[in-house]
Symmetry: C2
Subunit: 358 residues, 2 copies
């Protein structure tokens, strides 16, 4: 299953990793521990989902994906710097099985300097802030390099303008996510949660496909024709992916979800699942759900009761329906694009990311 897709993803990943690893931009970064940090996440690999979307959206509209390679690196590097800053904010210790940037630099400091643990940790965080800052510039630099592949300056300028707007929308999504835990959970609306998801997840996916498409078409009318269609596809994909993640967070297994089951409820996250259940339940059910939010730990019994509440309220069914609906919409958007091997890859990617059998 998905063998062809996996092969093609590996090809994308290889060329992106290759181009990023050999790019000279970070070479002169000082001091050397910061230069290492700037390269750290970008060469760790990962799915390279955003470059794949960009290159295949380019291919589907008749572009020569080779021409869009630097743009592919740009969206990957952009994703990277947001993770570096996100990891400082979330105080996460691991990213893709290795230490996060601030932890990595703090460990370096522990060996290199004879200061206190708290100064080493602060040094790690400070350098990680600066690391993300430079990576943001590196991302821009890579998109600008598309010149060398024959992308016209006027198109590059259009894409750069859009890229800055993507920053604003994405960081606003991130900021909402940071703000939610400060507020009363009951004050957070579904509109705000949707805005957060559109920012944190959909926005960069949308830019990736529209950027790839624009390079193929040699114009950047994002609201028109194929580019609008590609945008709709990516936006729906992003929301569906997030809903699926929320679903797996309580109905999945820890292997599939990657975090302890119920952690969204533990952290008091305003997921659609939670907000829908609060809307649909009677008062007694609402009180039970509230009581099951923010517990220090979750027993199997707690998880089972949560599942029952979500099922009986109809919130689970609503979530699954919404995922199916968005997947179908995203699929229909793809059907409006030219039929070729890249469309096939995008279709496979959609199925792969949103496997019908959640």
């Amino acid at each position: 299953m998905f063998r062809n897709l996996q092969n093609e993803l590996a090809l994308v990943s290889n060329s992106i990793t290759n181009l990023i690893s050999t790019d000279t931009f970070p070479e002169t970064v000082r001091p050397s521990c910061l230069a290492s940090a700037v390269r750290s996440y970008p060469v760790r690999g990962g799915k390279r989902l955003r470059p794949a979307l960009l290159l295949w959206a380019n291919g589907v509209l008749g572009g020569e994906p080779e021409q869009a390679l630097y743009a592919g690196c740009a969206v990957e590097l952009f994703h990277t710097w947001t993770l570096v800053h996100d990891d400082i904010i979330d105080e996460d210790d691991f990213r893709r099985g290795k230490p996060t940037t601030h932890i990595e630099v703090a460990s370096y400091a522990e060996n290199a300097y004879e200061k206190s643990k708290s100064l080493h940790d602060k040094f790690g965080r400070d350098m990680a802030i600066l690391c993300g800052d430079i990576q943001q510039a590196w991302a821009m630099y890579m998109l600008l390099k598309s010149r060398e592949k024959g992308v016209k300056d006027s198109l590059i300028t259009d894409l750069m303008v859009r890229f800055q707007e993507v920053n604003r929308i994405l960081i606003s999504g991130e900021a909402l996510d940071v703000e939610f835990p400060m507020r009363e959970l009951s004050s957070i609306t579904k509109e705000e949660v949707k805005e957060m998801i559109l920012g944190k997840t959909s926005c960069l996916l949308k830019f990736a496909v529209q950027c790839g498409g624009a390079i193929a078409l040699e114009k950047a009318d994002f609201e028109d024709g194929y580019l609008a269609t590609l945008g709709n596809f990516a936006e729906d994909l992003g929301i569906a992916f997030q809903l699926r993640d929320d679903y797996l967070g309580i109905f999945g297994s820890v292997e599939k979800f990657g975090k302890p089951i119920g952690s969204d409820f533990q952290e008091g996250k305003p997921t659609f699942l939670y907000l829908d259940a609060m809307e649909l339940l009677q008062e007694s059910g609402r009180n039970r759900l509230k009581a099951l939010t923010g517990l220090p730990e979750y027993t199997d019994e707690n998880i089972n009761e949560l599942r029952t509440l979500l099922q009986e309220s109809g919130a689970e069914a609503k979530c699954l329906q919404e995922i199916a609906h968005l997947t179908e919409k995203a699929h229909c958007s793809l059907m409006l694009l030219p039929k070729n091997k890249y469309r096939k890859l995008l279709e496979e990617l959609l199925s792969y990311l949103l496997e019908r059998t959640v």
Copy 2:
């Protein structure tokens, strides 16, 4: 004295403040406390030194400064976001007489959310990281907007490439400054200190004048002719300004310096003054200087002894000579430019910033 200069600086400041305050880029930032933070430093005013350099460098080469206004906003916003991140790292509470961004947002949080002080403070820092991130995009967006003033896409692309390199060099300078206090003071070389100053201070001044000049000339050959000359001018100005700041930090008055006299020695900063004195002094003097570094507080007697050591070693004279030499070089660079009212303004600005009577 400098009345004409002051008037012209005020004119620049007004048009920059006006354009920044009315720009719509930050309008849709969410949540609203982040939108306020994004606008906070940029509308606080200040000297607007970088935009003035940019606009006058444009004017001196026969440009129409009006055309370079968005670029002027871009360098000011760029300066802004580096300050926001810098203030988090330095844990500073005030900037231009008002709370720094992380303190401002933390105070907002204290009123808006019923959480602990440490969560409010963390919220302030987290939002300040994201604030700088969005301001970086806003700076790029403003340079891209120069299109609307008729600046060609190919030139904008050239300038954007350079702007990303400026980010790398400036942040590297900042990172060296963060790294120095972690190291043994004796391990830090003058070359490293110069690299730090070139990054933290000169680099953006250099970009400002070269960007203004390039818009006037409609090309971006930074290593050639007038643009190279402008670059040399700004680089020398930046280093001289920093040396003057180091000098005032021990030989000036607290009113002029803005911080307690001797604070560089208290913080163990590797200034040229300090490094030169260490090179020039005999062992007993070196030991006294070391003993006078990093004290918890400085008496008048301590300050006087420091001054005597710097004077008797010849480090003070060397510093003043170097400032005079760089000022002279910067002046000579200006003499190579077309003689007009903008050159006069740049000359006045040079004298104003580096007043011969330090």
